[in-house]
Symmetry: C2
Subunit: 225 residues, 2 copies
């Protein structure tokens, strides 16, 4: 069997996932199987990585047949896309929270970057489902596209605020946001891929990256380059 395992995920408490509260006398119809399937898939991904997700196993874990899933998802791919969608929703929530709680200012922007990488590092396998090419790039699910766009929009909004406050360069906001996204995304991927193995290397790089990133896009005295 091919494992291609990713490191056993850490705790993160992002989804309650009360692991299918089944009563003893099992009704033929599961109350909310779609939700339970999603939670179970997510739990499996966290515990065993993406390759550990098996229709039979998550069915068995829920005390349900292996093909019950097909009443709620078209495919295994559809299930993974739903997982990815949920990941983007959670990511957006955490980004927005960091921005708001940080005071919607310069420091809050830094907090967003930290929150982004923290999410990826805390849920590496989930993050991989979102960005690892498991979802069809063309003709993607509209809900997924919307949720992914929403997460990105959180970044755009924050940058727009900073830009109007004169803290950040007067460049195209979307372009600038893409640059910022690329930076944190890159740091996150390197961290996940185990390229930064020494203890503290991730934090060190993240801190440095954010510092240099801000230096790169701050509203300067001279218009830069």
């Amino acid at each position: 069997m091919l494992t291609l395992s990713t490191p056993r995920a850490y705790l993160d408490g992002m989804t309650p996932s009360k692991r299918a509260p089944r009563q003893s006398r099992r009704p033929y119809h599961h109350g909310n199987l779609r939700r339970a399937l999603l939670d179970e898939a997510l739990a499996t991904i966290r515990e065993e990585g993406v390759d550990g997700v098996t229709l039979r196993e998550i069915g068995a874990r829920l005390g349900v047949s292996r093909t019950a899933l097909y009443r709620h998802f078209a495919d295994k791919r559809a299930l993974l896309m739903a997982v990815a969608t949920e990941g983007f929703r959670t990511l957006r929530e955490q980004l927005v929270a960091a921005w708001e709680e940080g005071g919607r200012g310069d420091a809050a922007f830094e907090a967003m970057g930290v929150a982004y990488v923290r999410f990826a590092v805390a849920n590496p396998s989930h993050y991989r489902v979102m960005f690892g090419g498991f979802v069809d790039p063309v003709a993607r699910d509209p809900e997924l596209a919307a949720e992914a766009g929403g997460a990105f929009q959180a970044l755009v909004d924050a940058l727009a605020t900073l830009r109007h406050a004169g803290i950040v360069r007067d460049d195209d906001t979307v372009l600038m946001a893409r640059f910022v996204w690329a930076v944190v995304h890159g740091v996150a991927m390197l961290a996940i891929d185990g390229q930064l193995r020494e203890p503290g290397a991730v934090d060190e790089l993240l801190r440095y990256a954010i510092e240099r990133l801000r230096a790169g896009i701050r509203a300067g005295i001279r218009a830069g380059r």
Copy 2:
């Protein structure tokens, strides 16, 4: 069947891969099966994506049994790791070439960034094998680690030169290189994942990212931040 396809790869001419020059009278022993397997796996990855790699199919393509591979690789995973290793080697070569041909100066640094993203965009599936979690992060193959380290070292060397020339900040070179790596890696991943769909978006972002990156790490008048 689960496809999870990545877009059909483009040409790139990085490996001759003369597609198994089999003579008509087939000898029982293939001349250099290991090499042929690697080439064929790479070709398959380029044509059909990582999921298209099937031991049976690449065996069939080479006119060889499905398990012949096990005399040269321990696993399917080992084959993919070898593919990844080769990818890092090619990447390093292209980075070094860009640096040398660009004159080992400020412009050459920019050329390296372009070469990096160009490699990823030209070989998306191959790039995914290198960074998509297909290789075991812990206890990785020493040859793979060496080759990956070599590619990174090309960046470190270039940055060290720029640093000693006073073009770039006097920060820790490895840390700075990791930041640069994260930026180009992030741009490459966004490009591959289809997040930048409008024509020219990749080039636009790449140009902007490199411009802002250089602004962020150039040796400034004031010590930055």
